[in-house]
């Protein structure tokens, strides 16, 4: 058993807005080993970004509330330490790459200063010259000439901005990166470059990564494990090859795969999953997917457990529960 960099137990997050309480994450468990890459997949509103923000402890103040569970990053319980201690963890032990590079950089600071800022906070022993050298190294590492560090974000293209965001995230060689749809805002050719860059740097630095995405192609390319999230829960978890063999999956995951257009066959319409995501302001019981599931039965009204269908592959669906007479495996 290798060292765990991330352990989430029974995490629930609520947003208390004036209009309603939103149950964004409901009893989520997740582990990540050192150096491992986990793809967190799910549609918009499933609670992926909320999970990442909860790990960083940057949920919107007063609105976002952890109602149960705990998060341990590199042996430290994130919600049991002071804000000052948390500042030492953010950027140093765990860092985050945001979705939209266009707005993720401060428009009135040079990119060099923005990389420098994170190094200066966490590497207090370095001299000024060493910090400057480190900034240059990081720029070169992500493929941008170091002499451009005096320029401002608006002087770079979207892809280059994302490279800088990645340079900031990796500058202090964190043990864990949370990448929140790092390629969604980029066009396809740049996406491929960016994924190759992330994967390469991750291997070199031995960083674990939680990759949030709704793109199965990206997951197949760089992840070792996949977690599928639906309505605030992980409903399927397993090694990437087990999920991508398309056998014995959660009905929702099957639906997700079916909705990917096949380039070899002429399709008039995409195969969508019938129905809508449940209203997140209603506390759900039983299987969250049941209302849209064609296999739904009386048993789905009970709360669902994660069932290990084969070593390392978990599914939150009673059809796989042999003790209860599940039938999906036969």
């Amino acid at each position: 058993m290798s060292e765990k960099v991330l352990e989430i137990k029974n995490l629930s997050v609520e947003y208390n807005t004036e209009i309603a309480t939103i149950f964004a994450v409901n009893g989520l468990d997740m582990d990540l080993d050192a150096g491992e890459t986990l793809g967190l997949v799910g549609e918009t509103g499933a609670g992926k970004t909320t999970t990442a923000k909860a790990i960083m402890r940057i949920l919107p103040e007063k609105v976002g509330e952890i109602t149960s569970g705990n998060i341990v990053v590199d042996g430290k319980d994130v919600y049991a330490i002071s804000e000052a201690e948390m500042c030492n963890i953010r950027g140093k032990v765990v860092s985050m790459v945001f979705q939209d590079p266009m707005s993720a950089l401060n428009p009135i600071m040079t990119v060099g200063d923005q990389i420098k800022e994170v190094i200066r906070i966490h590497e207090k022993k370095l001299t000024k010259e060493q910090i400057d050298k480190k900034v240059d190294e990081m720029m070169e590492l992500v493929g941008i000439p170091a002499n451009r560090k005096v320029e401002y974000p608006h002087e770079f293209s979207g892809g280059m901005k994302q490279r800088i965001v990645i340079a900031i995230a990796l500058a202090c060689e964190p043990k864990l990166i949370l990448a929140d749809e790092p390629t969604t805002a980029l066009d396809v050719t740049i996406q491929a470059q960016m994924l190759a860059l992330i994967k390469d740097l991750q291997r070199r630095l031995g960083t674990a990564m939680l990759l949030i995405t709704h793109d199965f192609g990206v997951v197949a390319q760089i992840c070792e494990k996949v977690a599928v999230m639906y309505a605030g829960e992980i409903i399927e978890y397993g090694p990437v090859e087990k999920i991508f063999d398309h056998e014995n999956l959660h009905p929702y995951t099957i639906g997700l795969f079916r909705s990917i257009p096949n380039l070899k066959v002429k399709t008039a319409r995409l195969n969508a999953i019938d129905g809508m995501m449940p209203d997140p302001s209603v506390k759900l019981h039983g299987c969250h997917f049941a209302p849209r599931c064609k296999y739904a039965s009386e048993r789905c009204k009970a709360d669902q457990k994660m069932i290990e269908t084969e070593p390392g592959h978990f599914i939150r669906c009673c059809r796989f529960d042999k003790e209860q007479g599940g039938s999906a495996n036969e």
């Binding site: 953010r90 009135i108 966490h122 608006h154």
Partner: protein, 317 residues
């Protein structure tokens, strides 16, 4: 890059100069349109036609309009700025003796309102929805709604008449001691800065709320930046970009609002000078006062435009 910036600044300076030249034309035409004659006002109603004709000729009011304009412009360069009929002195001497009071008043009121207004705005934004925010909002609405002369009268009533700490009128130069100077200036500065503090507080609050949840603030947080640095380095600096224009426009408005304040406290500044010049139909003096204030406003705007180049790199190109 550097040369480009210098050229841009020079262009802006040139634009400002053109603005001032156009302004002199407009002001001069205005002077011709305003009814009333400084000579008649100066001589009084008993003056004979010969006396009026004599003085009209003496002060050059009988020349063709274009020549009067040329003489006025010339007087800018020889340093007299024309002759004030009512006060019988060169305008430049009069303005020089008065402008110190106005500049002291406006500068201090400006500094006080920027510091307090921005501070209140930040506090309100960071405590959005809490009691502090509500109190600041109510006070700043009240500050905008209350007329300056009313605040002035109330302050005089409390601090000058009831408590007797401050004089109710007049100006004590700083050369007579810091204490007396401060007591004399504190009420006018308060009155003049009251609406500006309110406006700055409101604008800073909304500008801060705009940037408070921007993605780059999230990035800064996830880098481990401490809360204080996030507020000042990331949020406030970005919030200042739209604020700068409002702040400097306010400086221009304060140069105008000083007329009221100076009259409430009978301070010998530009404001009361302007009122006097209108009452005595001394149009030469009046337009010169306006021109001086306009030059200050133009220069202030010029400084902002140049500052923007440093504060917001996106405006450089």
């Amino acid at each position: 890059m550097k040369g480009k910036q210098v050229r841009k600044i020079l262009k802006r300076v040139l634009q400002s100069l053109i603005t001032i030249v156009l302004l002199t034309v407009i002001l001069f035409l205005l002077m011709q349109l305003i009814p009333g004659n400084p000579i008649i006002n100066f001589l009084g109603s008993n003056a004979t036609d010969e006396e009026i004709a004599y003085y009209t000729h003496l002060y050059g009011y009988d020349l063709p309009v274009w020549q009067q304009y040329v003489n006025w412009i010339k007087s800018m360069f020889d340093g007299t700025m024309g002759f004030s009929v009512s006060l019988q002195r060169n305008v430049s001497e009069i303005i020089f003796s008065r402008i110190g009071v106005t500049l002291t008043l406006v500068t201090w009121a400006f500094i006080v309102s920027v510091i307090l207004g921005v501070a209140f705005g930040i506090i309100a934004a960071l405590n959005r929805g809490k009691a502090v925010d509500t109190v600041i909002s109510i006070l700043s609405n009240a500050g905008i709604a209350m007329p300056v002369f009313w605040i002035g009268i109330i302050l005089i009533l409390i601090f000058a008449i009831r408590l007797g700490i401050c004089p109710s009128y007049g100006y004590t130069p700083i050369s007579k001691g810091l204490g007396p100077w401060f007591r004399g200036i504190v009420l006018p500065v308060t009155v003049l800065s009251f609406p500006s503090i309110s406006i700055f507080a409101r604008q800073t609050r909304s500008s801060m709320l705009d940037v408070i949840n921007q993605d780059y603030v999230m990035t800064a947080k996830s880098k481990g930046v401490k809360k204080r640095d996030i507020i000042f380095k990331h949020q406030l600096r970005n919030a200042l970009v739209p604020l700068l224009t409002i702040i400097v426009n306010r400086f221009a408005q304060m140069m105008g609002a000083t007329v009221l304040t100076e009259n409430i406290f009978t301070l010998p500044g530009m404001g009361s000078l302007m009122i006097n010049s209108i009452n005595s139909r001394d149009l030469q003096l009046f337009v010169d006062c306006i021109l001086v204030i306009a030059v200050f406003v133009t220069v202030a705007n010029l400084i902002v435009d140049i500052l923007y180049g440093f504060i917001d790199p996106r405006t450089k190109e």
